[in-house]
């Protein structure tokens, strides 16, 4: 099913701020097999000049996927979310996310296209602190697989 092209350029106001928790950063780091003390130990992080434990580079996905999902589930867009897979992902960093950050995610739909029967939607998520400091921007491509295509 073709996606509604009117959605390109549409942006969405951020929801409530996401407060980055110290234990969440540790849990996420451990789940990735990270042993780097700066992500696990407050003293180690502070001795390196950070106010608290430093989140791994892909931590922002927690915010990105929640934001992308709210867009993808908009019935007017016409995306069948049960067929959606993550096609590609890119992050541009101003600085690492640190426990204690209160973050807002601004989502914009950058592009919609159809390739070989698959619908693809590119979202851009600008993540900044509640004080307006830019932290990271994410570009996410979600692919809704056509019913006759191979699994990616």
């Amino acid at each position: 099913m073709a996606l509604n092209p009117d959605f390109v350029g549409r942006s969405y106001p951020p929801g409530a701020p996401y407060l980055v928790g110290r234990e969440k950063v540790r849990e996420f780091s451990e789940a990735l097999g990270i042993t780097e003390p700066v992500s696990l130990d407050v003293d180690a992080a502070q001795s390196r000049g950070y106010s608290d434990v430093v989140a791994p580079p892909t931590f922002a996905v927690r915010l990105v996927m929640a934001a992308a999902e709210s867009v993808a589930l908009d019935p007017d867009l016409g995306l069948d979310y049960s067929r959606v897979v993550h096609g590609d992902q890119r992050f541009e960093y101003s600085r690492p996310i640190v426990a204690g950050d209160e973050l807002l995610s601004h989502v914009t739909i950058d592009g919609i296209r159809s390739v070989a029967g698959n619908d693809m939607i590119t979202t851009r998520t600008d993540i900044s602190t509640t004080d307006g400091e830019h932290v990271v921007t994410s570009y996410t491509v979600l692919v809704a697989r056509g019913t006759d295509s191979e699994t990616a």
Binding site: A31, P56, V61, Q89, R90, F91
Partner: protein
């Protein structure tokens, strides 16, 4: 970190991915998509077995870069394409992800690292590229 030359191969690393890894990552990331833990559904949608979260693979792969540059603030950008699934059988062994990286460019104190993520001799990430501040 010190200057680095084009062609330098950063230290590679192996990651073991078992069903336990997937369960832990699901909880930590909030991604509870059933294809990452439910064999029955994975088969129903045409997958050979449960597969790892793409973002788990992406998050593991970048560690060869962050371990090498030892400075969390050095990373400028990082992106990849999820080209092939990492299949994780429930056989007590799981899957092994082998990640290596090569410096392909150095411009204005920014090194471009091209990453290779292999699982069972198959490349699972495409265009996996990270740029880091060096020098």
């Amino acid at each position: 970190m010190n200057r680095v030359d084009v062609g330098y191969e950063i230290p590679s690393r192996d990651f073991r991915i078992t069903r336990e890894t997937l369960v832990r990552y699901a909880g930590a990331s909030g991604d509870f998509n059933v294809i990452h833990w439910n064999e029955r559904i994975a088969h129903e949608v045409g997958l050979p077995d449960v597969i790892a979260h793409g973002m788990l693979t992406m998050g593991m792969a970048i560690q060869v870069v962050t371990d090498w540059c030892e400075d969390p603030s050095a990373l400028v950008d990082y992106g990849c394409r999820f080209t092939r699934p990492v299949v994780v059988p429930d056989d007590g062994v799981g899957a092994t992800l082998h990640v290596s990286g090569t410096v392909t460019a150095v411009d204005d104190n920014i090194a471009t690292v091209s990453l290779k993520a292999m699982c069972a001799d198959v490349s699972v990430l495409g265009k996996a590229i990270a740029r880091v501040r060096v020098g």
